[in-house]
Assembly symmetry: C2
Amino acid sequence: MPHNHPPLTAHRMGIDTHQEPVAYMRRDCGVCRSEGFEAHSRVRIRNGTHAIVATLNIVDNELLSPGTAGLSEAAWRLLGVTEGTPLHVSHPRPLRSLSHVRGKIYGNELPREAISEIIDDIVAGRYADVELASFITACALQRLTLPEIVDLTDAMVNAGDRIDWGRRPIMDKHSIGGLPGNRTTMIVVPIVAAHGLVMPKTSSRAITSPAGTADAMECIAPVDLDIAHMRRVVESEGACIAWGGAVRLSPADDILIRIERALDLDSEGQLVASILSKKVAAGSTHVVLDMPVGPTAKVRDAAAAAALGNVLSDAGRAVGLEVLIVTSDGTQPVGRGIGPALEARDVLAVLRREPNAPQDLSDKSVALAGHVLELSGAARRGEGARMASQILCDGTALRKFEAICQAQGGFREPTIAAHFAPVLSPRAGVVSAIDNRRLARVAKLAGAPQDPAAGLEIHVKLGKRVDAGQPLFTIHAESPGELGYARTFVEGGPDIVAIEAD
Amino acid sequence: MPHNHPPLTAHRMGIDTHQEPVAYMRRDCGVCRSEGFEAHSRVRIRNGTHAIVATLNIVDNELLSPGTAGLSEAAWRLLGVTEGTPLHVSHPRPLRSLSHVRGKIYGNELPREAISEIIDDIVAGRYADVELASFITACALQRLTLPEIVDLTDAMVNAGDRIDWGRRPIMDKHSIGGLPGNRTTMIVVPIVAAHGLVMPKTSSRAITSPAGTADAMECIAPVDLDIAHMRRVVESEGACIAWGGAVRLSPADDILIRIERALDLDSEGQLVASILSKKVAAGSTHVVLDMPVGPTAKVRDAAAAAALGNVLSDAGRAVGLEVLIVTSDGTQPVGRGIGPALEARDVLAVLRREPNAPQDLSDKSVALAGHVLELSGAARRGEGARMASQILCDGTALRKFEAICQAQGGFREPTIAAHFAPVLSPRAGVVSAIDNRRLARVAKLAGAPQDPAAGLEIHVKLGKRVDAGQPLFTIHAESPGELGYARTFVEGGPDIVAIEAD
C-alpha cells in the first residue's frame, strides 16, 4: 500500500553495523512520523524494484540532512545504491517464515519447505539479528531431528552457489576448530593431490581466531580466486587452497555463525548443517573430519565426540557425502606458530623436511592425509599413513605444493615480524597445562591476523621439563606498541603456560 | 586486565538505537586494533568507576574525530557522561548469568538465584539484544514452570522501585491488551475511589497502539507524577491515574517487552511475570484482570483464556496478590474513539452521563468496577455492579474524577482535531466483522498518539444495519497530509469494517 511519500535520498553513513542492515532517519522526518516508525522499527527500503529490510535508528541532530535516509555499510551493500539515489521507505511485509520459527519454538518438527523458506529469507537479509537469535536458540542443542538437519543442510546449499567438478571422488578435509595452530590442511592437500586425487580446498579466514587457513596460505600465495581461476588450478594441479569467501558457498552459514558466536551457543544441528553445507556446495564427495577433543577445544570429551560424529556421518550420508570422523588430541596447540606467517612457516618447514620442523604437525598431517587416501579407496585400510609419509618424505608433496602456489598466482616466503619478546618460565618444573584461549588472545593482541607476521611461537609441549628463565613462547609484533599490549596481557593475568614445580 | 591505552573522549552521536547501548569507534582507532574489536563486538566502557557494556559499530569516515568514542542515546544515558569525558574501552567480563540462559535453552529448571542474576544483568543493561532474544525464546510458550514464573516475578520486582502504601487492600485493575479503545480504567478508578477504596493506578503510554491510558488521561490532567506527588494525590483522593514510567516499577519488564514485541512471541511465563511484577511493585494487593477474548485480541479463545487465567491466579497468590480474572468480548473496539483525546472524550461522556455516551464503554466499566468492589469485600458477591452503577449515575464518580484531576495538577477539556474525513459504507448491509489491527493502524497514520487529537471515531457496531454511503468511521487529523496518509491506507487495502450485503 503506497502512501505517496516523496522519496528520501540515500546517504552512506560510513557506519559498519556488521551484517544487520541499519537505516538512519531523522526524528522529524515526515515518513517516520506518518508511518509511526520509531527506533528499532523494521523498515522496508525500496530502490526502484529492489528492496531490503533494515532496522531503524533515529537521528536527533545534523548527522543527516532533511530529506535523506542514511544507510549502514551492510544496507548500502545489499541495496547497491549510490549517494543521492531516491529511496522509498515503508512498513515491511510480515515474513511468513517467522511463523515457522515460532512453530519450532513451540516444539514442532519443521517440514522441508518451512526450513527452505527460513533460509531463503535469512540469505536475502530479511531477518533482524534478534530474529536470527531466536531461530538459533530454538534450534539449539538436540532440538533439530536428523531429517530437519538434512533439510537445513540442503536449504543452505540451495541458497548459494554450488560447484560441480564433473567427476568423483572429490576429496575434502575439515577441522572442527578450537585449537590454535593446527595448520594441517596446507600439508594434507599437496600429499593427497600428489597421489593423483582431486582436492579443491576452500578455507576460511579467521573470524575470532588469530589465523584461518586462508590467512596462513595468503602469506605464501594468492588465495582470493574466483570459481574460474579455482577450476584452472584444479585442472592443472588436482587441488587448490583458496579462500572460500570469494565464492558464495552456503551464505546462510556465514550469517548464522556470527550470531551463534555472539550467543556462544553450541547447536549440534546448526554445527552439522554448517559444516556439511559448505562441503556439498564446494562439490565434495568424501570428507575427513578432524575432531580435536579437549577441555578448551570445541568438543570437550569422548562421549560428545561420539554423539556428534554419529550425527555428522548420518546426515552426511543423507546429503550424499562420505564422512570419516578422526578424533585427535585437543589439549594443546599443534605446531609452534600461532599467527598467519608463523603458521605458514611451520607448514613450509614440514614440507621441506627441515630438521627443526614441528614433529606434531608433521605426524598429524600425515595421519589425516592417510585417512583421506583410505577414504578415497586409493589406499587400503591401514596403508594410508605409510603412503602419505612416503609422499611427504621424498619431496613430492613439496613440489606439488609449490606447483599449486604457482598456479594460484606465485609462491612467496612468509615475512618475519620486526619486534620480538620472549616470555620466560617463572620457575623450574614441568609444563602441566596450556590455556589455548588466552594463548590465542596474546597472538591477536600482538596484531594477528591483520599483521600477517604477528603472533607467537611456542617452544614447549605438555610434559616438557623447563628451567627457571627458559623461554616458554616468543611474541612477534610489527610495532613496539602491539608488542607492549600483548606483554601487558601476559603479565596481568594467570599463567598461560602452567609450570608445576617438581 | 588494563592495557594502558590512553583514554578516548566521549562524544554524543545523537543516534537513538533504542534500548541497546551502542558505541561507535573509528576503524583506525588504536584501542580497536589492539583489542581486536570489530563491528558487533561487545565492549566495556568505563567512566571512572561506572561501567556499561555496549555493542560496537565501526565508523569508516569523519563522523568521529580521532581519539573519540561515540555513544548512542541509550549508552549516553546509562553512562551519564558529558561531551569530552575520558572513557576506557576494554573487553567485557563474561556474564555468568548467560550460562543460566544456556541452561534454560538446554531444558533445565532455573533456581531462584539464577533467575535473579539474569534479571539484575538485564536491568543493568549488560545484555545485548540478541542475548535478550535468546532468553525470551528459551522461556517462550510453556517452558517456564510455575515456580520459575513466581521467581521471575519476584526478581523483576526486586530489580526496581517498590511502593508501600502502608495499608490494605490496595485495589488495581489491568486489561490484557489487544483491543482499541477500551478506556475503562478512567471510569473504574473514580467509581472505586468514590466508594472509599484506595486505588493508586499507574498506567502505560502507547507502545505500538494508538493510545495508552496515560496518553488519554494526559488529555485531561497531568500524569507525569513522581512517587511523592502520587502519594499526595492518593492521600487526599484515595486514587490517582498516573503514568507508570515516571516511577521505576519493574524496569526489566520494559526492556523485555520491547524484544517480545519485535519477535511477536507470546510467552505465557513472561506475560504473567510482566503483569504481576508491575502490580506488586506498585504496592497493589487485589487486582481485577480484564481479559478480552477474540480472534484479533491477545487471547484468542476460551481455552487459552482459562489456561492463562489459572497461571495468573496461581502465580498471583504466590507473590501475595489476590487476582480475579474477568473475560470479556474482544471482537470489536469498546467505545467510539480511538486515539488519546477521542478516547478521553468517550470517558468524559460516560462520567457526565451524556445521552450519546457510548453504552458499551459504560456497561463494561460498571461491570469491572463491580468486580473490584466485590474483590475488595466492600460489596457482596453479585451486588458490585449495582453499587458501581449507582455511583456512576448519581454523579459521585464524576466529582471524584474531577477531584483526582485537580490533585494531579488541574482539569482540562480534550482538544478536537482540525481535519476530518468520513469513511463511507460501499454498500447496504450488516456489519459482519471489524479488523481491530488495521483500525489501530489508521489511527496511527492519522497521527495518534503523538498528535493527541488525532485518531478516529467509529460509528457502527457488529450486527448493525447500514445504508450505502453511510459513515462507518471518521478519521481525525491535525494536518491534511496525515489525513491523506490514513485515507490512502483505508482505500488501498481490504475493508476494515466488513459489510455483508443482505
